[in-house]
């Protein structure tokens, strides 16, 4: 039974950000992730937006951590070589009624100390965004976009470099509180820890229940997205949002460019029964297309190359009309159990600020001493397609597999696939490769590169290729051999 000071449950963006922040100190840290990779749930299926903070009620934790997180992202993205684009955002009004809402939003933003907000007329919107239909808009320059799964991977892997232990496919079965430590039973054995950080996202209530009676419930709320082909990247440069529909407690269908040059339509908002019901539905797909076409009339159905959904962790019922804020607190019943509850949007933006908050909570209980040799830089996943020709030639000279393109849609080389497969977390599913090097993410959706990736897994990593999984350990790709 190994003893740790900190056990983080959940390898989403929150758990991973906390792991990295804590890895700056002399601490023994372990992270349990039930999926086959980090960012396997809510953290990978969202808009990838770095929010400005205009949508959260003033003085709420959401507003505070969002604005603070937004600021941290400038430095963080550089350190972790995670792509980020400060595209800015237009919240658009379609009629006079909605224009009044824009003014309200601007006021909230000013209270939250969001800089550079400006109400602008259609002409100015259309000068920058000629394909958008609107009456007027609120310009929010501090909004941006990133790749949420790549960020989570970088946070997690960088923390591994700094001594954190990550265990994938590890399910917490039970937790017991002994005098001054927790005993955590998992499918990979029993672990002891002084602190537990409950960053289990949609499963946060299950962790609480293992120790105490929860005073909240989880209301999973699904958001569906459509992805457009890169051919349509020209449609927008910035984020295009509608007036938030307060009564539904979400930001409404928006149109978001991604760092990779696709466009996202979505999300929808629908309360569902199961926390893992990530299906997409015909009805919502139609709504997304219809609403998107109202904003950008030239969008065509055939532009869609993919559909997916993500689930928000809401801890307030749909009819609740107060402030549905994050809850970040050290349990009163079981001090040392630090719960992070209801981390929904703007959770991604808030993650680095939440991580600092958790460090603060812990520092009240134990003395933290900073490492002098913390490695803040992480740039494992350099991309062939981003390199200058000179660099490309150099890389190929050093290692010929940089010259062998495996995924032609995204121009991913064999070297990048091998690099992705040798990740420090030990994730070896098809999805974990896709999220690290983009092979299979393009327009053919793996039609051409899957065979090469499977071949490399067999040849270079000696894996039994008939046992490869797509994502979870039950999502086998194959059933065996054709001929034995």
């Amino acid at each position: 039974m190994r003893k740790f000071q900190i056990a983080i449950i959940g390898g989403g963006v929150i758990g991973s950000a906390i792991a990295r922040e804590l890895s700056k100190y002399f601490l023994d840290i372990i992270v349990f992730e039930k999926g086959s990779d980090v960012a396997s749930s809510t953290s990978k299926a969202n808009s990838g937006v770095i929010h400005s903070g205009i949508n959260s009620p003033p003085k709420s934790l959401k507003a505070r951590f969002c604005v603070e997180g937004n600021r941290i992202f400038h430095q963080l993205a550089k350190e972790l070589s995670v792509p980020i684009k400060w595209t800015g955002k237009y919240v658009i009004a379609k009629n006079e009624e909605e224009e009044k809402e824009l003014v309200k939003l601007k006021d909230i933003g000013i209270k939250n100390k969001v800089m550079g907000l400006r109400l602008i007329e259609t002409d100015e919107v259309n000068f920058n965004e000629p394909n958008i239909k609107c009456k007027s808009a609120l310009w929010v320059p501090s909004a941006g976009i990133t790749l949420p799964y790549q960020l989570t991977i970088a946070l997690a892997e960088n923390s591994v470099m700094n001594g954190v232990k990550f265990l994938l496919e590890t399910i917490v079965i039970d937790i017991k509180k002994n005098n001054n430590y927790f005993e955590i039973k998992t499918n990979k054995g029993i672990f002891k820890s002084d602190f537990i950080i409950n960053a289990a996202g949609l499963n946060c209530i299950d962790i609480v229940k293992m120790l105490e009676e929860p005073d909240f419930r989880v209301y999973p709320c699904r958001g569906e997205y459509l992805v457009l082909d890169k051919k349509y990247a020209f449609l927008i440069k910035s984020l295009i949002y509608q007036i938030p529909q307060e009564k539904f407690g979400f930001l409404g269908v928006h149109i978001t460019p991604t760092v990779d040059g696709n466009i996202l339509l979505g999300p929808t908002s629908e309360y569902i029964a199961e926390i893992n019901d990530t299906r997409t539905t015909k009805q919502k797909i139609n709504i997304l297309l219809k609403e998107a076409k109202e904003i950008i009339p030239i969008i065509k159905d055939k532009a869609v190359i993919n559909a997916y959904s993500g689930i928000r962790c809401k801890i307030y019922p749909p009819e609740y009309d107060g402030i549905s804020d994050f809850r970040i607190e050290n349990s009163r019943v079981n001090p040392g159990l630090i719960n992070l509850l209801g981390i929904e949007s703007p959770g991604l933006t808030a993650a680095p600020a939440i991580a600092k908050e958790v460090v603060k909570i812990i520092s009240k209980n134990i003395v933290l001493s900073k490492k002098t040799k913390f490695v803040s830089k992480y740039d494992k996943y350099i991309k062939f397609s981003d390199m200058t020709n000179e660099r490309k030639s150099k890389m190929i000279n050093k290692n010929a597999s940089w010259g062998r393109i495996i995924c032609r849609c995204e121009n991913v080389t064999e070297a990048e696939v091998i690099n992705a497969l040798s990740n420090p977390l030990g994730a070896k599913t098809l999805s974990s490769i896709k999220y690290r090097c983009r092979a299979g993410m393009g327009r053919c959706q793996g039609g051409f590169c899957t065979q090469h990736i499977v071949r490399i897994m067999g040849e270079e990593f000696n894996l039994d290729i008939t046992k490869i999984n797509l994502k979870s350990n039950k999502s086998n790709l194959f059933i065996g051999k054709t001929r034995v």
Binding site: N389, I396, R455, K481
Partner: protein
């Protein structure tokens, strides 16, 4: 790419004709170019084998129209590979073309490094890719066990891997039909082929020898309305569809399965062409070409499935030969040969016609057209109208499918900016 300083690091090659893609179209066009006088012909392919998709097409039926014999895919391509070798054509394997430009320069990469290949003519033969679940926007879960039919074929025939046991196939395209039989032969339980159209999409011969021979159900006017399974797919929900291909409520049925194959159409691969500024035809998905299969950039020709998705390799090869021959002529006579004349005819698909190739003509005399009907149509006549005057009327010999139809038509003298419209008369 063009930046100074990098030039030195590029491997420079000069050719008469460079072909992108070593599938049947590329090989056949390359051979033809060599036979018609091009001295140095190279074929570039990203894979470590020659022949594109054919080595995995182990079923027979290749070469019937072209050679009068029925060969398997590997046998068919072997005949041409031998010929290409004897003619001294170089195939650069594991070499990926990154881009081409209107100066007829190809930028490519291989394990040897970045390279720039200058050519007098370029032939595009990049083939096509399969439509995916995303293209159809099928709702439901996102489990494993969903494959395009061609990828399943790759794994079964080349990698000795079985993708699944209980199979549902969406789409009755030829690859899907062939895979239905292939999987059945390998002991899988093929539960049915679901087709949204009221008629099968593949060739009649494949419906007979792949489905009927093996008692595999074909459900016409049906589609999949949901995919279920959290980890691996465990069922699909199918519905009948109405005339507008919309699912009819209360006709849902569950089919349990562990694998879903998609055979729902092919998309010509033209990212390289588009980036080079070649104009594409929205209805074929391939470049606009003239009667010599020349694209809108002088010196660049197109053939094979990147030009239009063919039903058989035979017609594909016949057309690729013409593209190869013309590229050689262009290489020999220099850049200005058969430049787009001011005088040309725009060819348009009219009523009942899905698309037609060539889309442009700049000569009189016999022109070989290939086109598809919008839907199967027995006993029909086709008229070719040049500026609204009928110049040719042909009977459709067989048109009980949406297969490619070939017609030779004599083009008389015409005035500049003429329009040739092709119409289906019922």
């Amino acid at each position: 790419m063009e930046k100074l300083g990098c030039e030195k690091k590029l491997i420079n090659v000069t050719n008469d004709v460079s072909v992108i893609g070593s599938g049947p179209a590329g090989i056949v066009a390359g051979i033809s170019a060599r036979e018609f006088g091009a001295k140095k012909v190279i074929i570039i392919d990203r894979n470590n084998w020659i022949g594109g998709i054919l080595p995995q097409c182990i079923h027979d039926g290749f070469g019937i129209e072209e050679m009068g014999i029925s060969l398997t895919g590997p046998e068919y391509i072997d005949k041409y590979v031998e010929k290409a070798k004897n003619l001294g054509i170089t195939v650069m394997k594991e070499t990926t073309v990154l881009k081409i430009n209107n100066e007829l320069e190809i930028f490519a990469v291989s394990r040897k490094g970045l390279m720039k290949i200058k050519s007098k003519s370029i032939i595009l033969a990049m083939g096509c890719r399969e439509k995916t679940r995303g293209n159809l926007i099928i709702p439901g879960d996102r489990p494993s066990g969903i494959y395009t039919a061609g990828l399943a074929q790759t794994f079964i025939n080349l990698y000795n891997i079985m993708p699944g046991k209980n199979i549902v196939i969406l789409g009755s395209g030829d690859v899907g039909l062939i895979m239905a039989r292939r999987l059945k032969i390998e002991g899988a339980n093929v539960k049915g082929v679901i087709e949204i159209l009221p008629y099968p999409n593949g060739l009649p011969r494949n419906v007979v020898q792949c489905l009927k021979d093996y008692n595999i159900p074909l459900l016409l006017s049906h589609t999949i309305t949901s995919i279920e399974g959290k980890d691996r797919i465990n069922k699909v929900i199918i519905s009948k569809v109405d005339k507008n291909k919309k699912p009819i409520p209360d006709t849902e049925k569950i089919i349990k399965c562990d694998t879903l194959l998609l055979s729902v159409g092919l998309i010509p691969e033209n990212e390289i062409s588009r980036n080079a500024g070649i104009i594409l035809d929205d209805s074929t998905g391939g470049p606009l070409v003239n009667q010599y299969y020349r694209t809108t950039i002088p010196g660049i020709y197109a053939c094979g499935n990147c030009l239009q998705v063919y039903d058989t390799v035979d017609l594909l090869s016949i057309h690729a030969k013409i593209a190869g021959k013309q590229s050689a002529k262009n290489a020999i006579k220099g850049k200005n040969h058969n430049n787009y004349a001011e005088k040309n005819i725009i060819v348009k698909p009219g009523t009942g016609i899905k698309y037609i190739i060539p889309q442009m003509i700049n000569k009189t005399g016999i022109i070989d057209f290939s086109f598809r009907l919008e839907k199967p149509n027995k006993f029909s006549k086709i008229s070719f109208e040049l500026n609204k005057n009928e110049i040719f009327r042909g009977n459709l010999k067989y048109s009980n499918s949406t297969g490619i139809i070939n017609m030779k038509v004599k083009i008389p003298n015409y005035s500049p900016k003429s329009i040739l419209e092709v119409i289906l008369n019922e």
